[in-house]
């Protein structure tokens, strides 16, 4: 048995650590490239969501590399994600691939079923071993999150463009390749020291831009035209509400923290959207409100083309934008999105936020000078 899994941002680092420590044979899905997207778009339904298309392309690549078992998350609706695995299986089977699809249904569905599935996968593994593997995976997940925060900070302020990104890539490689708990900790320290050596611009007070939207488009740079890098290099500091560990929490581990976070978000969304609409639609609205309250300059809302929960959010966000006085722009992404147009809109949005900020400063000065 050679297992593989969906490629979503840095998820591969976490899952690879887990399987490796269990001694399970696995294949790291290759990074998402133009070829992946082309493959996926070719074999997927035309109006399926972009993440499904990327999945299909990526699974084909991994199966070609010798994988025979795919681990996929399930779901109970109402968003399409819950039925991805079944459609993907059908497509792959019709293409002639013989593969086994293991679908992990979320705890809300049926916890017994999840445990049974995992048990089947891990058959014959010693419990101590499982705990150790989970611990290392978790440690790496946390490390990745810390590094991401550093990256957002330094990228917006770096003197020489591209330095932070270069270091970020190196850090990912180091974390992916480090095996032992102690050495992971020391690598993180080393990486942090290197970050501190990045030269910063003087008196640059970066714009703060919040990213909200559907999780896959938020976490997978190849699906969002590297928006974090683009914004950072335009001198803006990115803030991201949805992170990988949270996703792992909701989908694989029951965690009370997440529930708390959700409640805060739900309360914030309430005047505008008062019901769960599947996916991350409610979060997109709630997080935008929270960002506005915390003084973020603007919000970029990312979603795959035709994503149902995000269409609900997109319909409601203009009202939030108006009442909370925070600029919001929605970017719908799929395989047809053109980089030039995307970039122009992002740059113009950053300009708009800068002008708005100048205006605010000017008004404050006027107030102070008794004009």
């Amino acid at each position: 048995m050679k297992i593989t899994f969906p490629h979503m941002g840095n998820l591969y680092i976490i899952l690879a650590a887990f399987f490796e420590n269990l001694g399970i044979d696995f294949i790291v899905p290759p990074p998402i490239t133009k070829k992946t997207i082309e493959l996926g778009a070719m074999y997927s339904p035309e109006f399926a969501c972009f993440p499904l298309k990327i999945n299909v392309g990526n699974f084909i690549e991994a199966l070609e590399m010798g994988a025979d078992t795919i681990i996929m998350a399930g779901g109970i609706g109402p968003c399409r994600f819950g039925y991805y695995a079944q459609v993907e299986k059908e497509i792959l089977t019709d293409l002639g691939y013989k593969c086994n699809m293991v679908v992990l249904e979320p705890p809300k569905g049926n916890l017994k079923e999840v445990l049974f599935q995992i048990y089947k996968l891990l058959q014959g593994k010693d419990l101590n071993n499982i705990i150790k593997a989970a611990k290392i995976a978790w440690l790496k997940a946390k490390a990745l999150e810390e590094i991401e925060k550093e990256v957002f900070f330094y990228r917006a302020r770096e003197k020489v463009k591209g330095m932070t990104t270069k270091l970020y890539r190196k850090a990912l490689r180091i974390i992916h390749e480090t095996k032992e708990i102690d050495s992971i900790k020391s690598s993180i320290e080393r990486i942090n020291k290197e970050f501190k050596r990045i030269e910063l611009k003087k008196d640059h007070d970066p714009l703060r831009i919040g990213l909200v939207g559907e999780i896959y488009t938020l976490l997978e740079p190849s699906s969002n035209m590297n928006i974090e890098e683009t914004l950072g290099e335009l001198g803006a500091e990115v803030e991201k509400s949805i992170r990988l560990t949270e996703w792992t929490n909701t989908n694989l581990i029951l965690d009370m923290l997440r529930i708390k976070g959700e409640l805060k978000c739900r309360t914030a969304a309430k005047p505008y959207l008062n019901y769960f609409v599947g996916g991350h639609g409610l979060e997109s609205v709630g997080e935008t409100v929270l960002y506005a309250n915390s003084g973020v300059d603007g919000v970029i809302h990312l979603a795959p083309f035709t994503c149902m929960p995000e269409i609900v959010a997109q319909s409601i966000l203009p009202r939030v934008s108006k009442e909370k006085n925070i600029p919001v722009i929605t970017m719908m992404l799929d395989e047809h999105s053109a980089e030039a147009g995307f970039r122009t809109r992002i740059e113009a949005f950053v300009d708009l936020l800068e002008k708005k900020r100048e205006e605010k400063l000017y008004d404050e000065q006027k107030l102070l000078s008794w004009d």
Binding site: P31, V160, K161, S337, T344, E347, L352, K355, E359
Partner: protein, 332 residues
């Protein structure tokens, strides 16, 4: 004539390349409108040659701004002080002509835009990147198909007495519907007027959806010359639409103004401009190759000036990119 400071704006779009020269009072000294014809570098060189003709020799270019989809390329060739996206450039130009403007409609060769301005600040914008119906390229095509010069196109629309509805979100469908209406025997001017109205409807539904369109409205971009489209906008929006004198080069004008602002803000700054002679006599060579470093297979574009590498781009990982114009490859 004393030596004055001038500022240059260059807008390299997919369809046209425009240059504008302004003085320090934002007066337009000269403007050039050229077709890009898929050769942006030639267009920039020819544009600069035309610009210099019949202008006294001792003009100093104190600042250069580039905009449009080819803004980075233009920057590489001429050495810009400001490289700005076309949405910002268009809004700056509009504000310089109509200071209290609240809505800018910009329809050029491609990618129609709407910019919402309140109290002189851009508060919202949208740009259509999905479809070419209603853009200059589409109108050019239709006028040549109907055998009417594009200049006459608008006048024909104004002659129409009957309403013909042209359907279609997409240029291809709109065209087939037009052909269908012709086959049914409708008059050409009615079809053209119907087309103008369809394009305006399309623009309002696709580009300007959900935006609060308030006057004063400035209509710019190449299509603003088309009286039929202007009339259709006025009919739909039930208010006057202003077409500025230099409607066709507003992007370049905005870039020039942005360059001027930047230079005036930072007193001791010297422009990056490479100089007319260097640019116009330079022998540029562009080529591309497929990087096989990973399965992204990026198309890397290379520009050489007189045999030396000037810049490379198109690679997602930044391996080939030059970080500055130093001519040295950084070790990224």
């Amino acid at each position: 004539m004393m030596n004055r400071n001038f500022f240059l704006g260059i807008d390299v779009g997919s369809v046209s390349t425009n240059l504008v020269l302004i003085d320090s009072h934002t007066n337009i000294i000269k403007k050039i409108y050229l077709r890009t014809m898929g050769k942006p570098i030639d267009a920039i060189q020819n544009g600069l040659r035309d610009l210099r003709k019949d202008i006294e020799q001792d003009i100093t270019i104190a600042g250069v701004g580039t905009t449009g989809s080819g803004r980075s390329l233009a920057d590489t060739i001429v050495g810009a002080d400001v490289v700005k996206n076309e949405i910002t450039a268009h809004s700056i130009a509009s504000l310089s002509v109509v200071p209290d403007v609240q809505t800018v409609i910009e329809i050029g060769g491609q990618d129609p835009k709407i910019i919402i301005i309140r109290n002189g600040i851009v508060t919202d914008f949208a740009m259509n990147t999905v479809c070419a119906a209603g853009t200059g390229s589409f109108l050019d095509r239709q006028s040549s198909r109907l055998n009417i010069s594009i200049e006459e196109f608008g006048n024909h629309a104004l002659k129409s007495k009957n309403h013909v509805r042209i359907a279609g979100r997409c240029a291809v469908f709109a065209e087939s519907d037009m052909i269908h209406k012709q086959q049914m025997g409708h008059r050409v001017e009615d079809i053209i007027w119907g087309l103008c109205k369809a394009l305006v409807r399309n623009y309002i539904n696709n580009v300007a959806k959900g935006k609060e369109i308030k006057g004063p409205i400035v209509f710019q971009g190449g299509v603003a010359a088309n009286k039929g489209i202007k009339a259709a906008f006025e009919e739909y929006l039930k208010c006057k639409v202003i077409v500025p004198e230099h409607y066709d080069v507003m992007g370049a004008l905005g870039a020039a103004i942005l360059a001027k602002e930047k230079i005036e803000r930072s007193r001791r700054y010297r422009s990056n401009f490479y100089g007319f002679d260097n640019i116009c006599t330079g022998c540029y060579n562009t080529s591309s190759f497929e990087c096989t470093g990973c399965s992204n297979l990026c198309e890397v574009i290379k520009i050489e000036l007189n045999g030396e590498i000037l810049a490379r781009w198109g690679d997602r990982c930044g391996k080939w990119k030059l970080l500055n114009h130093s001519g040295k490859i950084s070790n990224m």
